[in-house]
Amino acid sequence: MTDVSVPVTTKKDWTSDQEVRWCPGCGDYSILTAVQMLMPELGDTRENTVFVSGIGCSSRFPYYMNTYGIHSIHGRAPAVATGVAVARPDLSVWVITGDGDGLSIGGNHLIHALRRNVNLTILLFNNQIYGLTKGQYSPTSEVGKVTKSTPFGSIDHPFNPISLALGAEATFVARTHDMDRKHMQEVFRRAHRHRGAAFVEIYQNCNVFNDGAFDQILSKEARPTNLIPLEHGQPIRFGADHEKGVIVDGQGKARIVDVADVGEDAILVHDEQRAEPGLAFMLSRLATGPYEPTPVGVFRAVDRPTYGEEVQRQLVAAQERQGPGDLAALLRSGATWEV
């Protein structure tokens, strides 16, 4: 939105008067700061912004934003937000959820919000653990994980949130992490600008129940070798000297190579607008977990009519076809008789 009447605001304007109560050192703080700092740049007013969350540590987020907000019930944030967005296409609606809230108890609502392409910006904080309930494994926890509820190691195969979102027909799919505010803000800005459902997975450290889950890719030293930045129109390369790259091999499989071995021209050029999600899906599965080179950035960003627009279109079409509603005429629309 480029409404010139939107007043100039600062982070302070978007910060509520409520005390933030996450554990000291939680990755949620840096995500909150990134969002609060970004809001003044997005061109929305506070009154036209709604944050909707479910239940979990991350779902406290709306209380800290000086906007409209609903802290709903476990897993249902995408459904509640769908109601807000369909009723009021004029609003900017954000969903704050986590790996338990969004992928376990609320998995159904998440995939349906994505396939419908409801105009929502969905931020999924993935810390691979249940924090609020004090440390049980989540649907993104790795096999073998020892937690309070899995003393002998988890036997659950985890979800890959990016693969899931792509499979659910999402039109915008991205990943970022809590260690890089600039990257977060760039991804959030893109997600907010996207018309339709934008899904962002944020790797977020839970320093109490799952500390260091992402250290192998997110520590300062690891990032150059283990984060694969996705940039639209650019060859997919990484490493301290961009010495690594991604190709699609003869079997049609995406894999990591030394650029020197295959030549620069062989490196896959990232196209987030590809109609077919297959290649994005392959990229989402380059790493089997956050301990191998992992792509971050926008996997997919394609256009499709949003659900809210289509609802609106049908309302307008019905009015044009049938005229504005006339209650008395409606009640008489069946067979009538006079007594």
């Binding site: 509520s16 802290h71 009723a87 009021r88 309302l315 209650l327 007594v339």
Partner: protein, 629 residues
């Protein structure tokens, strides 16, 4: 076709008749009954209907499980029920005969499709002998009509193959009955054209079959008489025929207009509530938004989101859906947002009897949430009353910022009756204002917005919708501090809020109509009071009439508001030593009345997926009258 009975036929006047059409679920009996009903409505009879069909889309043809029936009661005076027992049964096959014969009144008229009474069908229905030939139907006047072959013959000009042609046999049956009860034929012929107009072969076949049936009645020497049921002397006005589910849909559209709010329905398909979603989806020109959600939980959750955003939000379902929505309904109690939850009750528990009626969700609506989570409840009493009850439920939801249950059931949902159309100008204004500015002084001369600062009279909190500058606020399911709405774990505040939420709902009692007492001798005059709620209204009223016709005294009160109860209920109950509560459950209202008012309420219960018969309640009343105190 002439309007006059053919020579040799006499025409007999009846004050009422109850007809049941029964056949295989593929035979189109619901359609046949519905058309007969429409023609009778337009003719001016009072009427009441009871569709009864299997849950299976198409159970094996010819079996008892696959029998579908439609009962209609037409009369020349006001009636209250679809009739206890039919005096006319149309049976399209042996299974339909077997499943319904026990209800036919002795001496009643039985019209059978004799073509269907061949060995295979008889075996499927479990008949060792053909009942048409073994004398077992002696108690009835039986007309054997070879409907299938006559239909195939009549529809030959269309060129339809016999297999397709025989599908029109329900229209043949409709024609026979239309002749027999001197129904006007035009409404049905017009309807066939409008319904099947895009398939001329089918339209023509149905028209020919209908006419052939009508003419068969007129010319065959089979029937001694046809019958006339004159128009009823109903209150003057413009009437239409309405089912409960359509009345709910119209009520929602009306509530949207009367509150000047867009209607938002979040719903998941479920029998017997889906027709409300279907009907509302057709009226988008009223600004109605319908979202067919991914599940029941999303249906109510999206409605909560729409309510927050300033819409008249609704979710429609049946019992299993309420189970799933319970947590979200608790959220709506905590958020204090207007929300309509419409439960079209069906037989339970679990999947239960999806297509059959029951009223066993009362305690679920009252208490089916964790914590102290009071929700007002409104219950409709007749199909047409669903319209008014929906507007009343919306009024309470909007004014008090609370979820409200509207209870209907399968019998009301699919049953139909004539409805005197209200003058829309006389419908209530149920609009409420949105909050438009800060409501609390900080004490330093500046003002701020407190989302849980209540209206002192209604105890409703302000409804501040997104888009309103300066009123940004966050609400959620966590306990809130009184006034500010900020998260609070303070023990005293929690108890205070629990009591406030209860007081808000209790206070609605002062804002609802008192329960009407029907006692010709004045309050306390009769020895027995019958108290009911929901769809039993018509049957109870019919039973009360019968008891009074015997010269006995009985009083009736029927509850529309079940939470809170009308304030005069306690006084009324106190005036009667004997209180009888008929319910299609195991005594849920009686349980509440006994608990709340220490009333000696006695139950009569029926849980068969079918409404009471007036005779059943009549005999329970008489029994109670005769019992020692």
């Amino acid at each position: 076709m002439t309007d006059i009975a053919a020579p040799g036929h006499q025409s007999t006047e009846l004050d009422r008749v109850v007809i049941r059409f029964a056949g295989d679920s593929g035979d189109g009996m619901q359609l046949t009954g519905d058309r007969f009903t429409s023609a009778s409505a337009v003719f001016g009879n009072d009427l009441s209907t009871l569709p009864d069909y299997p849950a299976e889309i198409r159970a094996p043809a010819g079996t008892l499980a696959g029998v579908s029936a439609f009962q209609v009661h037409i009369s020349d005076h006001d009636i209250l029920t679809p009739g206890d027992s039919p005096s006319v049964l149309v049976a399209m096959n042996p299974a339909a005969l077997k499943a319904n014969l026990h209800d036919l009144l002795p001496g009643g008229t039985l019209i059978v499709n004799s073509d269907a009474f061949e060995e295979r069908n008889l075996t499927k229905a479990g008949y060792a002998e053909n009942p048409l030939g073994d004398g077992s139907l002696k108690a009835f006047t039986v007309y054997e009509v070879p409907m299938t072959s006559l239909t195939v013959e009549a529809t030959k000009p269309t060129g339809a193959k016999p297999r397709d042609a025989e599908r029109s046999k329900n229209f043949f049956a409709l024609g026979v009955i239309s002749w027999m009860y001197t129904r006007p034929t035009e409404p049905t012929l017009e309807w066939i054209q409008s319904k099947f107009g895009n398939n001329q072969t089918v339209a023509e076949a149905n028209t020919l079959a209908f006419k052939a049936g009508y003419n068969f009645g007129e010319t065959a020497e089979l029937f001694e008489s046809n019958y006339q049921v004159k128009p009823a002397a109903l209150e003057p006005g413009l009437y239409t025929q309405i089912s409960g589910n359509v009345a709910v849909a119209y009520g929602l559209i009306a509530a949207g207009q009367l509150s000047k709010l867009p209607v938002f329905l979040g719903s998941y398909p479920i029998t017997p509530a889906s027709d409300i979603l279907h009907e509302l989806s057709r009226h988008k020109n009223f600004g109605v938004r319908t979202l067919q959600a991914e599940d029941e939980i999303a249906g109510v959750s999206s409605a909560i989101g729409a309510a927050f955003a300033g819409h008249l939000a609704v979710t429609t379902t049946s019992g299993p859906g309420i189970d799933l929505k319970s947590e979200a309904i608790g959220l709506a109690v905590s958020l204090e947002l207007p929300l309509l939850i419409i439960d079209i009750q069906r037989g339970g528990p679990s999947t239960g009897l999806p297509t059959k009626t029951e009223q066993a969700d009362l305690l679920l609506a009252l208490f089916g949430r964790h914590g102290e989570a009071p929700v007002p409840i409104v219950a409709a009493k007749t199909p047409a009353h669903c319209f008014e009850a929906t507007i009343e439920a919306a009024r309470i939801a909007l004014k008090y910022r609370t979820p409200v249950f509207l209870l209907s059931d399968g019998y009301l949902a699919n049953g139909a009756e004539p409805w005197k159309l209200p003058d829309v100008a006389t419908l209530p204004d149920i609009a409420v204002p949105f909050a438009d500015g800060p409501n609390h002084d900080r004490g330093d001369g500046t003002r701020e917005f407190w989302p849980y600062l209540r209206d002192p009279e209604t105890l409703a909190r302000p409804w501040a919708i997104p888009g309103t500058p300066g009123l940004e606020h966050r609400i959620g399911g966590l306990e809130k501090a009184d006034g500010t709405g900020n998260i609070s774990y303070d023990p005293a505040n929690h108890e205070h809020m629990v009591r406030l939420r209860q007081a808000k709902v209790d206070g609605i009692a002062d804002d609802i109509a008192p329960v009407e007492l029907d006692d010709p001798d004045g309050p306390g005059g009769a020895p027995v009071l019958v108290v009911g709620w929901g769809s039993t209204y018509g049957t109870i009223a019919a039973a009360v009439r019968r008891v009074r016709a015997r010269g006995l005294k009985v009083a009736q009160a029927h509850l529309i508001h079940l939470q809170p109860f009308p304030p005069n209920l306690e006084d009324i109950l106190g005036r009667y030593d004997k209180v009888l509560v008929p319910e299609m459950n195991l005594g849920q209202l009686a349980f509440v009345l006994r608990g709340r008012y220490l009333t000696n309420a006695q139950s009569i219960n029926k849980v068969q997926g079918l409404p009471f018969k007036a005779a059943e309640i009549e005999s329970a009343i008489v029994q109670l009258l005769e019992s020692n105190p």
